[in-house]
Symmetry: D2
Subunit: 303 residues, 4 copies
């Protein structure tokens, strides 16, 4: 396949969607992003990268980071994390306390905020520095040593973290958080505030297309664990729009309110798209449209 | 691939799971089924069928019927049904009223009972006889003119339908049911009480593997609608275990409390497995194990 | 106390509130009532009656009937009803299914619709004709043989009873309804559709002010049961406004969407006020204002 | 009335209940209390005090303090607090986050933990030292300068405050908390950790029986505000048992997990009972029995 030509076609097809939707505005640092940006990168399993648009422009990864913290915990700890977090879709907005209360402090899956806090808590216990660990991994796996925390975004998020603090304290009350809540939030916020571009993210996620193997052929996680992450991405990766995303795109995907979406075509490649305008559920409007166009053009959907 | 050999291998691998779990006992007619039964059939896109075990023994299709009523409504009515029912996973037990109340009478998806009632209501309005219509379709698509309603099961279910009556009246209160509740329940129960064997179901669902085409090459639903049904099956087809099923099996699947599970491998084939012992979430224990073994042996999982 | 003078003063004080609010419009028969009507009656423990305004004009008693069906069940059956219905405030709108689901089919109290259905179900089992029994009681206790069901209202309500049917079927699914749902709804609707005037209701409720004794000195319910009903009225009698009513009026009270409110001053008298304009919670605007004014003038509040 | 004789009779009647129930054990400092203790004090409106049993033994006031913080805020601020907290019963356990989420961060009433945190937040803003202010008030109103915080209990509670921290952060996320959560919790915990005896509490609450007047005749809160507090106590003062308490006791009452219950008979007297064994809802078993016996003996119930 001529990847470059397909990406160019996709870019062309989604032009009308770029700029639509609403840029995340719950913190000032995110709200200042230009809604007209759009980037798309594809990384093949053997490490080739292609891109169009602003694919080299760094953006705030936000919840896309949850895929990688989960992988790092599985890599170190195997299946034990599943005692503390479920693997089922939530059917509720991503930060809801209601379901957490009815299920006694066990979050539904690792991609709702509560679940990602539990995963981060475990990574913090295992490493003593979860955000540092994640940054190191992402620098190496993307090959970009400039990957770093945007400290302005991090500071801004930390100042607006009441809801996450509530989730963490609530789960701590059920004994499902091991670290001090303040430390946990500090690392969680730093992880969400990492800045990467589309190429970085597509390359860093390559192990999900390679059934658990890193670019150098060494194993990060088992084949089964890679399958697990992909399954959770497909069923839970795009907030309360996972069903719609499964239909339109038909690929495992994880979105973030920074406007990024990471998608995996197992055995073939990874994709990362970025455009800051979000739909009502918090997913990038042009990003979903681009992945939709890509799978239509290539026929690489799952269904 | 030597289908017969693979099916025999699968049968061998799941022997220990057969008989495990609990047979559905909310109605007497279902509770009398022998928990030691197991059947598995595979139908290729060109209509070849293979099977092992009790693949020719009829069983109660129950919620597996929901796939076909949805397809029949899409075939007649196109996308309009999605104004009355959502497409997202539910995150609650399959017959919960709670989510329905918070979402003003719009069920989360067509495979929770409330959603299937809405779909049946529409088919009833469109045809005047939804259960008759479904039976005709299934007879023709399976090539088995003996497909029929088990009237003892239907009578028993109709006598135990308070929860479904509550759902229907509740939605009717929101204006989301058009037919008299009693008529609706009558047809809904008859649809669930259809008796078919694994070969029948695998053949009848062939259009989902053929991107919407029936065995004779005529189109039942559009390519896009077939993709939609498969996506809804993957994310919502196995009650509150869809995430686990997506991981273990990695295929669009729809289960029923009669112990049947229908699965689709788009472009290749359909599978139907049956074994009456259910896990805590209501899915066949040996059935899930068999589909898991099948995708492991063939590598035909989505992830 | 010069009752007539106090009632006249109250009438004068609430003039500005009469006509405010919204007349119940979920059925046509109720929506046609003139919002400018206002009546207030007081019945002393020895059977004297005073009134102002439209105190002799019949209106639809609606949920005020729930007080009497509860009393009739307690009279026949003692405390056993409390195994099937709770006695605590609900904290949810009066017809919510959510709480019912979380509490496994046991309604919170006898004045939410679900609870009143359970009470009616019991009265129907005990008597074979609960609405007939209630009518007989109300005719005798009010001394007005013309008390009867408004069949137009009843027919209209029966045609709009999907929500109550859902509640009844839902509880039946938990084994908490003994009679066929259709029969139950028929009697329930007839009970709500009884037409009485302020004097009738004040007189009929006299046993609650007389600690369980009827006007002729015979005992309907025990002193303790009368206390129980009054306590439930104070904490649960005015939908999701019980706290506000307790403060403003400070008396046991039960309202209905027909615009009536019954209030009890134990040991002294009963009051019934009627004015059809309802506030957002479903209580009569001028009715609450009148009872507020009455307790302010007399100092007969509980607090 | 011979108060001493009535109290002695009550003591006698409840002997079998003393020691029943479960002492609060969520913090070690509370769990060490002897379950066999029982005290009861009555303070008349003119400041006479009577008591039986351990009525001079200090205990942890816990949630009984919520009555006084509410009064202090109303005294300084009038009705404005009701914009931030409701006045309706909750129908959910006292520390539930669910209702808070569905009602956008506005707690149902000032006696659930969330509501008491909002009231404390306001008192902290108004005074700069809410727990100090409360202590000063209680010392003066009880005439006991030894009233003080039990620092061991306070430290223990502060170390176990995840659930309250979750509530506070959650409301802060909705903009309904003004002070830093840590400061707020510090004061809240100190208020709950105040140690007083039955006589102290009965005397300190005298203003609720005197329609807002302190013992020296000066006004703390308006007559209407006193009525409001009493109404909230009756409908919401005993967790999810308010309906049962209203029936059995029939008085405004506020309980705490330390085993204390404060009750008010407007115009007559206040009562404070203490016995550490709690029922399943968190109210003192012997305490409720004693107030029940008292109202039965005196006939001073509301109903």
């Amino acid at each position: 396949m001529d990847h470059a030509r397909v990406l160019a076609q996709v870019h062309d097809l989604v032009k009308d969607h770029i700029g639509r939707g609403r840029v995340a505005d719950y913190i000032p640092a995110l709200s200042r992003v230009d809604p007209g940006r759009f980037g798309l990168a594809l990384a093949t399993c053997d490490g080739e990268v292609h891109g169009v648009g602003d694919w080299r422009t760094p953006f705030s990864v936000q919840s896309v980071s949850k895929v990688f913290t989960l992988a790092l915990v599985l890599a170190r700890d195997g299946d034990t994390i599943w005692r503390r977090v479920g693997r089922e879709p939530s059917g509720n907005p991503f930060n809801s306390l209601v379901q957490l209360e009815y299920e006694n402090g066990i979050p539904r899956n690792p991609f709702v905020n509560a679940g990602a806090l539990v995963v981060t808590d475990r990574l913090l216990t295992l490493t003593g520095d979860s955000s540092g660990e994640l940054r190191s991994f992402l620098r190496e796996a993307s090959g970009n040593p400039a990957v770093d925390v945007d400290t302005e975004v991090a500071a801004s998020e930390e100042a607006h973290s009441h809801r996450n603090a509530a989730l963490a304290h609530f789960m701590a009350g059920y004994g499902n958080i091991d670290n001090p809540v303040q430390d946990l939030l500090h690392h969680y916020v730093r992880q969400c505030s990492l800045t990467m571009n589309c190429a970085d993210l597509a390359l860093a996620a390559g192990f999900l297309a390679r059934h658990g193997l890193l670019a150098d052929g060494s194993r990060l996680i088992s084949r089964s664990e890679a399958k697990r992450i992909n399954a959770v991405m497909l069923t839970c990766g795009t907030y309360d729009e996972a069903g719609e995303f499964a239909y339109r795109v038909g690929l495992p995907g994880k979105s973030g309110v920074g406007g990024g979406i990471l998608a995996v075509i197992p055995g073939r490649c990874t994709l990362c798209v970025w455009s800051p305008g979000l739909d009502a559920k918090g997913n990038s409007v042009a990003g979903v449209a681009a992945l939709d166009a890509f799978t239509s053009l290539t026929g690489w959907s799952v269904f």
